[in-house]
């Protein structure tokens, strides 16, 4: 079970969180003007790396805030967590 440092509540066990997919997948500013190919990339294409990965978590049984988390998918070492909206680490 991961120990996840919530940027708002501090380190908490993984049980309190829900995974919310890859981070920094921004919704296109003007969806109607987005070409079909780019839109389906936004919907479905994810990087799925082996190694350093930035993902979103929601502190579902805590503050209910979404935040970003830099985790190595091989070692599960969490490098950093930071509020949603901050620049990519």
């Amino acid at each position: 079970m991961l120990l996840i440092p919530c940027p708002y509540c501090g380190p908490r066990p993984e049980l309190e969180f829900r995974h919310a997919g890859e981070a920094h997948i921004a919704r296109p500013a003007n969806p109607d003007a987005t070409a079909a190919g780019a839109w389906s990339e936004y919907l479905y294409v994810r990087s799925n790396p082996k190694g350093r990965h930035i993902e979103r978590w929601r502190h579902a049984s805590g503050c209910n805030r979404f935040f970003n988390c830099v985790r190595d998918t091989v070692t599960d070492v969490i490098e950093a967590t930071y509020p949603a909206g901050e620049a990519r680490r």
């Binding site: 079970m1 919704r27 969806p31 109607d32 079909a36 839109w39 389906s40 919907l43």
Partner: protein
């Protein structure tokens, strides 16, 4: 077979119904050996007689079933780890009718047929016979003990703990690490799977530490640690799993060793410990040597024989032969000799052994036979002789094997540390750790006590040095590699001949290393045999992964208190007690218990549902809709937020009005639906499906927090605050009117909301309908709900009102073609597919899912569309729909039935279905598959009753 006076309380026990006596401190294995019993089990596949191989958790052979009080039984326990108590009753496993006379032993004669992958080959044809004949036969003939049939009567506890240093293993390396860490004053936990702490020191009678006998140093060290307030010592506690960020799973056996445990105590305690630093002092496990007949009772690991002698005072034989490629077996030979056992010879595979053990053995007058192998054994119930490569046979009643030592890197590997192969010593060692963790002592490949305990002075130790992997030269390949799964060297060779090259494949084909012991004594030999056959260096064959748990863990300890009523939360509405008193049947909807139907005496379920439906259509019914999800959406941008989250347009919705809202995923598929009422310019009462409340709130929060951060909106779940009583039917207004204050019911239009009071309680009163009749949903604070329900129930008596349950609710809504998300939808259905295109605000600039609705595939005209069906009989929900009464095998389905009910109102069965291009096929006949064939059905519009909606606002 007692070598010295065994002190301690006498304990009576039985094995296979026969009574024996042991002493306090014994394991079941040591007590049986003390009574001269070597035969403890039958092997998994060939039913060969087996005795103990080891003396600890690595034991593959001696699996027993231990009976407890009140019908308790625990199968598959290793006799080497079962602590003896007075009255213990154990039985052997995998034999019929008895351990001595086992019919399954005929499998041994069939062994040419039962080699590697036999179940893939021998039992292939006919295919149908696998499930009915072969598998049940094999399962009965092979296998482990019998699982208990009754619910587990014990209780289990769970604890969480934190510490700076967690030491796993209380042998010399672990104790020294614990002492060092504890002296800093930080919190230290020391766990060990055995009943007594000390590890290898418990069987050490030769070495001295700091000038005193090892046992004295051990006692003093344990006393020091026990006296430190920052140290917690946990014996009988197995660290079975090593997880992320230094979280370890431990299981502490609290009562299994007690004859009459205090019933207040849990049987086991599961610990989850988060440690800053972890020290793995898990030791090493001795390996057997692979030669023909290496599995006869009496053939065992040298270290095990030494443990039985030194720790338990039990000789494993009167005349023993030691067969070794490792110095440590000399210590066993010397200790057994000192205890009065005749050591016939030490047969050493190495041409020129020369360690301190060899010197000491020769000085003690023992016969050392270098460059010699044991290539076979004689005997049946017990080994009687060891045949040597020199063609002589040495008579013996025990044969001790010293194949070298394998560091116990299981937990290190679970922690995702990388292993490195020491080619010179042919062992895997911990390499780079992945967490704050270190390996010490035998687990780190350090086998000599002087290095482990430096700077303390150590004398008299005979450390492990040497070892041999693979099939012993000169032996036939019938020697066993994996005792527990009955895998021979020949099986590994056969697998490589049949083309398997990776150890992962060899493992699965032969089942080597797959038993409950996970190959603790067998993996390295299997690797070496495969590597030699493939002519590859050992590491290139690969290494199978080490998985949790290190040793088997009971389901009980993992479940803890989470079973029965505590397995999952049960949610009940405030009106639940009333429904229960009325004899309602309940159904599970998520975690909710919902009243399903209210059966009167003498009624069948079908008749009850029919009565409830007709009463609502004719008069009025009450329905507990409290499980509806409710979210209060508040803030200056609340309407704009809903504009973006729902397909509908909300800006122009007047205060006091409601609208049916449809929520999509970004991919354009229906996620949820529900009625939304506007209470003020900046305040909305949003309802969701009962099962979708949490999902919808998370979805809303996601967009609010991460995409639409420009909006000032606050979301609050109010599901538990508001109870909801639906009052539905032509007499609904008449029923409510006398109880309502401050609301002009007659002036309320369909799809509106008012605030006022009902039965003296504040209410948000919605005029909405999920039945097609004039309907209201009375929202009241949950604490008042039961009283309000009872007031409404009393007010309904003159109208012959009924209470109706979820089944009638479903029939009534289906007659009107109202969808249920999750029943008519499956995550791939668009609003247009459901005929709900009218609810999509196409003029809106944007909403979640809008762009996707314009994608080509979502615009296709042959997509599944919601239709009504008039079938000949009641079909199964989920049944496939085809276009022929006799579809040939392989026909494509046109769609499937999503809802099907016997409609009392229509007097016939009806169904809703998703059908490809269905709206173009009105009036056509399709065929619904059944268990025996198909039934015809006519396609109609998905509204079966009151198509104009005249009854809604009657």
């Amino acid at each position: 077979m007692i070598v010295r006076q065994r002190s301690g309380t006498r304990l009576r026990f039985s094995f296979d119904g026969k009574d024996y006596t042991g002493v306090a401190g014994d394991t079941l294995a040591s007590a049986l050996l003390a009574n001269g019993v070597h035969l403890m089990g039958r092997s998994f596949k060939y039913h060969r007689p087996r005795g103990v191989l080891g003396a600890g958790a690595e034991e593959p052979n001696a699996l027993v079933d231990v009976a407890g009080p009140d019908g308790r039984s625990t199968p598959n326990l290793r006799a080497t780890t079962v602590e003896l108590y007075d009255g213990l009753r154990a039985t052997s496993q995998n034999r019929y009718p008895s351990l001595r006379f086992d019919l399954g032993a005929v499998n041994g004669l069939l062994s040419p047929l039962l080699g590697a992958g036999f179940y893939y080959k021998t039992f292939m044809h006919p295919r149908a016979a696998w499930a009915t004949l072969y598998e049940p036969l094999i399962r009965r003939a092979a296998g482990l003990g019998e699982a208990p049939r009754r619910p587990d009567p014990d209780h289990y506890a769970q604890r969480y703990a934190h510490c700076e240093t967690l030491v796993v293993g209380a042998g010399p390396a672990g104790l020294l690490a614990a002492l060092t860490a504890a002296q800093s004053g930080e919190r230290v936990m020391v766990v060990d799977e055995q009943a007594v702490l000390g590890g290898s020191l418990l069987a050490e009678r030769r070495a001295t530490i700091a000038g005193q006998p090892a046992a004295d140093w051990l006692a003093a060290t344990l006393a020091t640690l026990a006296a430190m307030p920052n140290v917690q010592l946990l014996p009988r506690t197995t660290a079975f799993g090593y997880y992320q960020q230094n979280l370890l799973g431990l299981v502490e056996r609290v009562t299994d060793h007690l004859a009459a445990p205090d019933p207040a105590l849990p049987r086991e305690r599961l610990w989850q410990v988060r440690a800053r630093d972890v020290v793995l002092a898990t030791g090493a496990i001795e390996r057997p040597l692979v030669f023909a007949g290496n599995d006869r009772p009496g053939v065992m690991l040298a270290s095990a024989a030494r443990t039985y002698c030194n720790r338990y005072g039990v000789a494993v034989g009167r005349r023993v032969v030691v067969f070794t490629a490792d110095d440590s077996a000399y210590a066993a030979a010397l200790d057994l000799q000192a205890a009065g056992v005749a050591v016939v010879a030490i047969v050493d595979l190495r041409p020129d052994p020369s360690g301190p053990g060899v010197v000491a053995a020769r000085a003690a007058g023992l016969t050392v036979m270098p460059g010699t192998a044991v290539i076979a054994t004689t005997g049946h119930w017990r080994v009687t002789g060891a045949r040597l490569s020199s063609n002589t046979t040495l008579a013996c009643d025990a044969l001790l094997m010293g194949g070298g030592w394998t560091p116990s890197v299981h937990l290190f590997s679970q922690s995702r540390g990388t292993l490195r192969f020491d080619a010179a010593r042919q062992i895997y060692l911990p390499g780079t750790p992945a967490q704050r963790q270190s390996s010490v002592g035998g687990a780190n490949g350090v086998f000599d006590l002087a290095s482990i305990l430096a700077p303390l002075a150590v004398a008299g130790d005979i450390p492990a040095q040497g070892g041999f992997l693979g099939l012993v030269p000169g032996s036939r390949a019938t020697g066993f590699v994996d005792y527990q799964n009955d895998v021979k060297a020949a099986d590994i060779l056969q697998a490589t001949q049949e083309g398997f090259r990776s150890i992962e494949h060899v493992k699965r084909y032969t089942t080597t290393g797959m038993a409950t012991d996970q190959g603790k004594t067998s993996n390295m030999n299997a690797l070496a045999i495969a590597a030699a056959a493939l002519d590859l260096p050992l590491p290139e064959v690969g290494l199978t992964s080490f998985r949790t748990p290190y040793t088997p863990v009971t389901f009980g300890s993992i479940a803890g208190a989470a079973r029965g009523a505590l397995f999952d939360p049960v949610r009940k509405t405030p009106i639940h007690p009333w429904a229960e008193a009325q004899g309602a049947a309940f159904e599970d909807v998520g975690q909710w218990k919902r009243a399903w139907y209210f059966q009167h005496i003498g009624e069948s379920m079908h008749e009850a549902v029919k009565r409830e439906c007709l009463t609502v259509r004719r008069a009025v019914g009450l329905f507990d809709a409290s499980t509806l999800g409710k979210i209060e959406v508040v803030g200056p941008d609340a309407a704009e937020f809903l504009n973006r989250l729902y397909t509908n347009s909300w800006s122009k919705l007047a205060v006091g009005r409601c609208r049916y809202g449809l929520m999509l995923t970004e991919a354009g598929f229906v996620l949820d639906d529900g009625v939304v009422g506007r209470l003020a310019a900046d305040r909305f009462h949003v309802t969701t499906t009962s099962g979708g409340a949490g999902r919808v709130l998370a979805h809303m929060e996601d967009y609010l927090q991460t995409e639409f951060t420009d909006l000032q909106v606050w979301l609050t779940s109010t599901t538990e605050q508001w109870a909801v009583i639906a009052v539905q039917g032509p007499r609904a207004r008449d029923l409510l009117a006398p109880l309502v204050e401050g609301i002009d019911l007659a002036a309320m239009p369909h799809m509106s909301v008012r605030e006022g009071r009902i039965a003296g309680v504040p209410t948000r009163l919605f005029q909405v309908s999920f039945t097609g009749e004039l309907g209201y949903e009375v929202n009241v604070p949950a604490g008042h709900a039961l009283a309000v329900w009872e007031a409404l129930w009393a007010a309904g008596a003159p109208y012959d009102a009924c209470a109706y349950g979820t089944e009638a609710m479903h029939v009534l809504r289906a007659e009107k073609g109202y969808i249920v998300v999750g029943q008519e939808t499956d995550g791939t259905v668009t609003p247009e597919d459901l005929g709900l295109g009218w609810a999509v605000g196409k003029a809106k600039a944007d909403f979640v899912g809008k762009r996707s609705l314009a994608m080509m595939d979502l615009q296709a005209t042959d997509r599944p569309q919601l239709v009504g069906l008039l079938p000949a009989h009641l079909p199964q929900e989920g049944a496939q729909i085809v276009d022929r009464a006799d579809p040939p095998i392989g026909s494509a389905a046109l769609g499937h039935v999503t809802s099907a009910y016997d409609s009392a109102t229509l007097g016939r069965p009806m169904a809703l279905a998703l059908l490809a291009g269905g709206r173009r096929r009105m009036g056509q006949t399709v065929h619904i598959t059944t268990a025996t064939g198909t039934m015809p059905a006519t396609i109609v519009a998905p509204v079966f009753y009151d198509q104009e909606g005249a009854r809604l606002d009657a």
